[in-house]
């Protein structure tokens, strides 16, 4: 937490800033404009994506560790920390597999000083969600043990091939850890095995958590260890782990991190009578045939239950491309440039019209959790948000909702796609090459 204020002293030494002092009425004496801008600023906040096309570990192996100890029965989160954590964990599982279709996930719970396996490392979201749902009926109890959980996670990730990432995400509600041995040694082995740990704290910052994150993430604990402010922030911190991590150990010559994976692209079969699938032994019509051992599986992606070949569809690979080719951030447009266009390029939402004389005051939110009022005072500028956002390559204007939608869901810029030049401009050059090669391949 940043305790220093802009003036140099501690925050509590500053003169009091009252939130109602900085909020300004607009020309008509109404607060509506300011409120609308606050809402917009909030939306906008989530938009600061890193858009450099980083090499990312697309094949992920992640262990989600849930604190199931007594401290989770606190009711500072509604309905309880325990229930909310499970709800968010379910959401995490869904989002994780949506964004990382060829990755694996496992879940571990910490209770009574022990680490319990909730679900095995696997690629089927429904199994994990089922296991989490079953947890709902249990009660939190005892103390958590970080060391036990980390050791168990390490064991689960031990056999992971070198091309995959090894990650641990911990939801930690306690302020203590009840460990059987020296946790620092465990952290050392984790570091040696390239396991990265991220922690979401629900109560207060704990030194050992910070230490774990710092040591397993090359000294970076600010982006990997977060303590929540509220429910919304909890969700944001947790779901941030859905994005694949940038590979950091890449440039070390003939690196350990990258290699080829053998994968099967099974063909779909249509059957008139049902037959058993090899994965769940259920009678189903149709399915996919493993190209190596000709066994039938019912859903993809999966690992062939007979020969262990990773089975995927080419569409699953395509699902991960947007991580490799992120969409560039769009710029806010000020009133001076804004007047020409009256509606959003993609959804036709009419833009707010320019204020006639007095420029409206603007409240902007910078950083993730900075309080609004502090920045608001300094951000009263003449420009003002016009509610328009411009894609730097196609120069089209969009509304905030389309901005969010394009960056979070679609990963396309409608404007760039609608120009004859196409994709080349909207994403990094390296990425274009990939996309060209990919698409050529699919067309042949």
């Amino acid at each position: 937490m940043e305790l220093r204020s802009t003036a140099g002293g501690y925050i509590w030494e500053d003169s009091i800033q009252r939130s109602w002092d900085v909020v300004q009425e607009d020309a008509g004496g109404s607060l509506a404009g300011v409120v609308a801008e606050l809402v917009q600023a909030g939306k906008r906040k989530r938009l600061h994506y890193d858009t450099t096309p980083l090499q990312r570990g697309i094949i992920r192996h992640l262990i989600l560790v849930l604190d199931l100890s007594m401290s989770m029965s606190e009711k500072d989160l509604r309905p309880t920390r325990y229930q909310l954590s499970i709800s968010y964990a379910i959401q995490f599982v869904t989002d994780y597999f949506e964004q990382n279709p060829i990755s694996q996930l496992g879940i571990i719970g910490m209770r009574d000083g022990l680490a319990n396996l909730v679900s095995q490392l696997g690629g089927n979201p429904t199994e994990h969600i089922g296991a989490l749902q079953a947890l709902r009926k249990q009660e939190p109890s005892g103390d958590p043990s970080l060391q036990n959980a980390l050791e168990m996670a390490r064991g689960a990730l031990y056999h992971v091939p070198s091309h995959g990432t090894k990650e641990v995400v911990i939801i930690f509600g306690s302020l203590l850890s009840c460990d059987p041995g020296d946790i620092h040694k465990t952290v050392g082995t984790l570091k040696a095995e390239h396991v990265r740990v991220r922690i979401v704290g629900l109560a207060a910052e704990v030194a050992i958590c910070k230490e774990i994150c710092r040591r397993t993430n090359q000294g970076d604990s600010t982006s990997t260890y977060g303590v929540i402010l509220n429910e919304q922030h909890f969700r944001e911190l947790l779901l941030a782990s859905c994005t694949p991590p940038a590979s950091t150990k890449q440039k070390s010559s003939a690196s350990l991190g990258s290699d080829l994976m053998r994968m099967g692209f099974p063909s779909r079969i249509v059957e008139t009578s049902p037959s058993f699938c090899a994965c769940h032994s259920r009678l189903i019509k149709g399915g996919y045939i493993c190209p190596r051992c000709k066994v039938k599986v019912c859903s993809l992606p999966t690992e062939c239950p007979a020969c262990g070949l990773t089975l995927i569809l080419s569409t699953h690979l395509a699902r991960s491309y947007h991580h490799l080719m992120p969409l560039r951030n769009w710029d806010e447009v000020d009133w001076n440039d804004a007047k020409k266009v009256s509606s959003c390029f993609s959804c036709l939402l009419p833009f707010p019209t320019a204020p006639s004389s007095v420029p409206r005051f603007r409240v902007s939110v910078s950083g993730s959790t900075t309080n609004v009022t502090a920045t608001a005072a300094s951000a009263i500028a003449t420009g003002g948000a016009s509610g328009r956002f411009r894609c730097p390559s196609c120069r089209q204007l969009f509304c905030i909702d389309c901005d969010l939608f394009a960056h979070e869901v679609m990963h396309n810029c409608p404007g760039c796609e609608a120009a004859a030049g196409g994709r080349k401009l909207s994403n990094g050059q390296a990425a274009t090459e990939v996309s060209m090669a990919t698409t050529n391949a699919y067309l042949s």
Binding site: R262, A318, Y321, L348, G415, V434, N440, L443
Partner: protein, 368 residues
């Protein structure tokens, strides 16, 4: 007197009303207006005939439910264009005959409000339902503007007529439009059910693979089915779009009977489709082609950094696309095969060059 009888409140046997069907639906029609597709390839139906059928189709869609909505987007060769609704025009309230309210740039394009008993046979006011008239007139008018505004230089590319159609742009735009109309605005749950119908005449464009895939996944996430009405060659991308999102893919064998296809296969909305046996695609090719030799493979090797697919581990031990150097030990594992004496491929070749003539490179491809 009916006190002891509960049957008045209980739905009749077999006549249970389904309220979920009452949810109105939004249809976004994407019309491929590529001149090459309609012109040179000379499909057995002209653009105007197709548009006539489509307008009737849109009217039928609007007729199903009073609250149904429609939007039409043209996917042209060098731009996309909303044919309906047109930004800056307010359709909800009838514009007074003389005064044009909107001061926007599009005001000079304002439709002459049904008064033109016009040259292209615009029907007069009393003969057509208002909602239909507004949509039809807008589509015709905007389409004409679009086509007349297209010059030869727009469609020519390196001396030959461009075969581009911006389907990916049109899909992206329509999804953004759907996103605004269906989500966000109203917090009381979705008030509309959206779907997309693409009328496509062109074949796939390699450069649009990734954006189209992105659109498909976005549509899948938003539960928006993408229907494809295909005239001319089949397209793999759009087949996948229909398959992934649960839409209907239909290749018109007799495009002249388009209206019948539209009415039968594409008109029912999602609620109704549950009850129908709709045309399905028997086979979609999901197999991948390798990047190095364009072979269709069923077991391939995938670079874990850029996800490019190879039919065999690259000879120089590095990825041709992203230059990643693979772990030699792991590579060796993958290559475990009966050892054949080979000459090593010179490593001096640049990546680009190698990629180009990789087909020709006499690797250890076994002869027939």
């Amino acid at each position: 007197m009916n006190a002891v009888d509960g049957s008045s409140h209980v739905p009749q046997v077999g006549f249970a009303s389904e309220l979920e069907q009452e949810l109105p639906s939004l249809l976004v029609l994407i019309l491929d207006t590529s001149p090459l597709g309609w012109g040179t390839q000379s499909p057995p139906i002209s653009l105007h005939e197709a548009v006539a059928s489509l307008l009737i189709f849109i009217n039928s869609h609007l007729a199903l439910n009073h609250s149904n909505e429609a939007a039409v987007i043209a996917s042209h060769t060098n731009c996309i264009k909303y044919l309906y609704p047109v930004p800056g025009e307010d359709y909800s309230i009838l514009a007074p005959k003389s005064t044009v309210t909107s001061g926007t740039e599009s005001s000079e394009e304002m439709i002459p409000n049904g008064q033109s008993n016009g040259d292209n046979g615009t029907p007069n006011d009393a003969s057509m339902y208002r909602q239909f008239r507004v949509v039809n007139e807008s589509v015709m008018k905007q389409l004409e503007l679009l086509l007349s505004g297209t010059s030869t230089s727009d469609i020519e590319h390196n001396g030959k007529i461009s075969d581009t159609t911006l389907i990916s742009g049109a899909l992206s735009t329509s999804l953004a439009y759907i996103n605004r109309l269906v989500g966000g605005v109203n917090d009381n749950g979705p008030k509309l059910r959206a779907r997309i119908l693409v009328v496509s005449v062109c074949s796939d464009l390699a450069s649009q693979y990734v954006p189209i895939m992105n659109c498909i996944f976005a549509a899948q996430k938003m539960k928006v089915p993408i229907d494809i009405c295909k005239i001319g060659n089949n397209t793999v991308f759009l087949q996948q779009a229909a398959d992934t999102t649960g839409g209907v893919y239909m290749h018109l064998e007799h495009p002249r009977g388009m209206i019948q296809y539209l009415m039968t296969a594409f008109l029912p909305d999602r609620a109704l489709r549950k009850h129908l046996v709709l045309p399905t695609q028997s086979s979609i090719d999901f197999r991948a082609a390798c990047f190095c030799h364009k072979r269709i493979v069923d077991i391939g090797y995938v670079c874990n950094i850029c996800l490019s697919i190879y039919c065999q581990p690259p000879a120089d031990g590095s990825c041709a696309i992203c230059d990643t150097i693979f772990d030699p030990k792991e590579l060796a594992d993958l290559l475990k095969k009966p050892v054949v004496v080979t000459t090593t491929v010179p490593k001096t070749k640049t990546k680009k060059k190698k990629k180009k003539d990789s087909d020709a490179t006499p690797n250890f491809t076994p002869g027939p």
